[in-house]
Amino acid sequence: MSWEMVIGLEVHLQLATQSKIFSGSATAFGAPPNTQANAVDLAMPGMLPVLNAEAVRFAVMFGLGVGAEIGKRSVFDRKNYFYPDLPKGYQISQFEQPIVGRGEFVIPLADGSTHTIGITRAHLEEDAGKSLHEDFQGQTGIDLNRAGTPLLEIVTEPDFRSAEQAVAYLKSLHSLVTYLGISDGNMAEGSMRCDINLSLRPSGTDELGTRTEIKNVNSFRFVERAIRFESARQLDILEDGGSITQETRLYDADRDETRSMRSKEVANDYRYFPEPDLLPVVFDDAYIEAVRQSLPELPRDKRQRFADEYELSDYDAAVLSDSRELADYFETVAKHCGEAKIAANWVQVELLGQLNKADLPLSECPVPAPALGGLIARITDGTISGKIAKQVFEAMWNGEGDADAIIEAKGLKQVSDTGELESMIDEVIAESPDQLAQYQAADDGKRKKLVGYFVGQVMKRSKGQANPQLVNQLLAKKLS
């Protein structure tokens, strides 16, 4: 029998607010334990939540970004369970009336096609603290700095059929939320964590099989591996005639396997009910419209515009619009040099190549976009050749100044003086009687190849600074 994999994803996205969702504590990552946990976060008696406006605005931005219905009236609920990293004994979340309703997400796939998946809902909630299992005489340490960090939980329909689709979605989602600026998307720091709901069913059937939920997977690679492992595990069981136990599992990256979480064995009854310490969040159309107006251009719109406006290939447009930062960089370069295609090439090949080699993020790139634009402008106006430009770029990377200063200081300006070039050409021809003879004996087809030797010699003599187009023209005249 052949089997079909059915996957739905729940992403917990930490929103990039300065303060927590219900308190004025900082949300910065990496602070010493419990130094960013104050009375509200610690659930001290009598403490009350007050909702952060920015968390709400970010959630609405996301909703508009995926074309979802915005809940004009959304309600916070208490989700009750006991756990040491959950100080109140309940998590403030949203259950029946989330802030973001149904939406759609179009994922570009590697083969150039797209796959559309349904967003079921997205709701606001608070993050829990962290349990640290280093040994404190057989005890667990609790750090509540993270408790109360705003989360947007984004739930999809079970619309994925492969690990590739799931990963492609997560990458697109990452791109969207960083474009929107609502999250730093830093998976290593837990800003984006994924729960995977996975089941198998016989191909061609509609009914869903029993699923397992894999909690808190925190990298694209682990998502892919967890899906591969878990689908293979389920397949083994089903092929042996067994049945899947509905349960929560954990992906262990060290062993590359999923395993059952013992602590969650007891079926939870979360006893959701409307949080009486908060009131319904109500928006009018004007608010939603104002947020809509504030939205930046979204990844797929930008990709389309790059292809149309700059006549880039789909591939180039996709690479350059992958992050808002790179897209902005590219557009600045293009604007400064006026040649989008050359800019696209330089950004993708030279710039990304160097960054990759130096293992630097774009934010730490030593060459600002206007400077790279300035360099390319010197190619297009004939001041330097493309080859020299790479040399200039190296110097810019090393902090030696802008293109003009480097060209000037190193005397790299292209030689376009006809007289000067002609004398160089004459010298080369004079020193190359054999090649000249060969050239003169050859037919037109071969001559085109043979002329390269002369061009190369002239370039060498000019230390690369001769204007290659001019050299070609002059040579053609001299040799004929």
Partner: protein, 488 residues
């Protein structure tokens, strides 16, 4: 000196007739002398009280004229007080010393008030007799064999006995009004959201409301002026503007329409209590008010609705008491589950556990719709019932309680028998309305309370009616005869 009203104390301090230090010393001495009979305080910090009284005297000398500068008051032990143990009447918080003040405490501190101490209460404000305190029952100063009412029983007993000129209380289902009635003092539960809940240990979030307990309506108005107002840190506190509650006290009652719900005078009401209440209502009629017979058909729904909504909210509000960050923790827990279950078994008393269990049940899968959701729907029906009546009357009046204070231990182990004591007060919380209890006679030698219920945010009118009544009568001036000699 312990017989002075708050208004007298303020003018006496202003005129230099006595200092805050003298006053505070006087009340502290009285607490030392008499509270063994009453057990109305959980914590009294003589040194801190005197230090703040001395500071107030210095500030006055320096020209400070804060509203309650140097005025001693007592706080229910439900309000978090920085550096002073806040037990909420529970073993769970017996060792809890908050590093912060409740908003209400901050407001009193800013107004210059001197805190005498923290008053006894039913554990987590759950009770109608003050017998549910980890620190022992409070005794009614009118008859120490009787309960003072609850949950703000310590505050009520302390004020009635002259151990404090006024006190703060909280009212979730009658916890200010019922003890005020039983102890013969004036208590006001403001409109839900009128006073900040921040730093007040939560019982039922959508019902809890802090309010003043004092000797007179005028004193309550003075206190409410300090307490009321929106708190940016309490999302449920109301934006409604705060009037000066003293301004309208002297307005005449002519033209006032007072509704008397038939259901508040029916079966279960003690005969003497009814007689006293009817006499008090006639007094109001004499003052110019018109009495109108009305019907609040939802009255009988208040008890079942309340005893679902309040426990449901309480069950999760009390989840934070888990032995991890503060408060009681059981000895040598074997594992995490043992830490939770034993800490909570040891830390909570029987009534608190009972309500947590009822609330947990009402919210659990399969029962939510039948209990919690249903109760919240009925709650709206109850509120709408009041709203309809308020179209034809300005104030609704009746007895605060079915009878005078009952004997300690007399309600036995049946929680439902105790809950019936709240029959007239619960609906006010469910509807979020302001309600008052004022002394209006005696039955069986103990005080009887007249309850006044107003429209949302109409505290001024309730205080006006109460003040006018107190100008014409002297029930609020009567004092229990409590002395050293009667001490056990």
């Amino acid at each position: 000196m312990h017989d002075l009203s708050l208004a007298d104390i303020i003018s006496g301090l202003q005129a230099g007739q006595f200092s805050s230090t003298e006053l505070t010393q006087g009340y502290l001495a009285r607490i030392d002398e008499l509270d063994r009979q009453l057990n109305s305080f959980i914590t009294v910090d003589h040194k801190a009280a005197l230090a703040s009284a001395e500071q107030a005297d210095q500030q006055r000398a320096a020209g400070n004229e804060a509203a309650l500068l140097g005025v001693p008051i007592a706080h229910k032990d439900i309000f978090c007080t920085r550096g002073v143990r806040t037990s909420c009447g529970s073993r769970m918080l017996d060792n809890f010393v908050p590093p912060y003040d409740a908003t209400l405490i901050q407001r009193f501190n800013a107004s210059g008030a001197v805190s005498l101490g923290k008053t006894n209460m039913d554990e987590f404000a759950m009770g109608s007799s003050n017998e549910n305190s980890f620190y022992g029952a409070v005794h009614n100063p009118w008859d120490t064999d009787r309960v003072p009412g609850g949950s703000s029983g310590g505050s009520a007993a302390a004020v009635a006995a002259g151990l404090a000129p006024a006190a703060t209380g909280t009212d979730t289902g009658g916890s200010i009004r019922q003890p005020a009635a039983f102890c013969g003092i004036t208590g006001l539960k403001p409109t839900y959201g009128r006073v900040s809940r921040l730093g007040m240990v939560a019982f039922a979030s959508s019902l809890d409301q802090a309010g003043p307990m004092a000797r007179s309506a005028q004193d309550c108005a003075i206190l409410l002026n300090v307490m009321a107002g929106q708190d940016p840190l309490d999302s449920t506190s109301a934006a409604e503007p705060v009037p000066d509650y003293c301004t309208d006290l002297d307005a005449p009652l002519s033209g006032l329409r007072i509704g008397l719900p038939a259901e508040y005078f029916g079966e279960g009401l003690d005969a003497t209590t009814e007689q006293q209440i009817r006499a008090a209502l006639q007094e109001l009629e004499k003052l110019g008010a018109t009495l109108v017979d009305i019907s609040l058909k939802t009255t009988e729904l208040a008890i079942p609705t309340y005893y679902i909504v309040a426990p449901a909210e309480a069950s999760t509000n009390l989840s934070r008491f888990d032995g991890v960050r503060y408060g009681h923790r059981c000895e040598d827990p074997e594992d995490l589950l043992d830490l939770y279950t034993r800490t909570r078994e040891e830390g909570f008393g029987d009534e608190v556990k009972r309500r947590i269990l009822v609330g947990t049940y009402a919210l659990s899968a399969g029962y939510y719709d039948a209990y919690y959701k249903k109760a919240q729907q009925v709650r709206r029906v109850i509120r709408d019932d009041f709203m309809t009546q308020f179209e034809q009357v300005d104030v609704i009046a009746g007895p605060t309680t079915p009878g005078p204070a009952f004997k300690l231990g007399s309600k036995g182990n049946d929680p439902v028998a105790m809950y019936l004591e709240d029959a007239y007060t619960l609906a006010v919380n469910l509807a979020g309305l302001p309600g008052m209890s004022i002394p209006a006679g005696t039955a069986d030698g103990c005080p009887v309370g007249l309850q006044l219920i107003g429209r949302h945010f109409d505290e001024s009118r309730l205080l006006n009616v109460a003040h006018q009544f107190q100008q014409a009568t002297d029930w609020h001036q009567q004092r229990p005869s409590l002395s050293q000699e009667t001490a056990a």
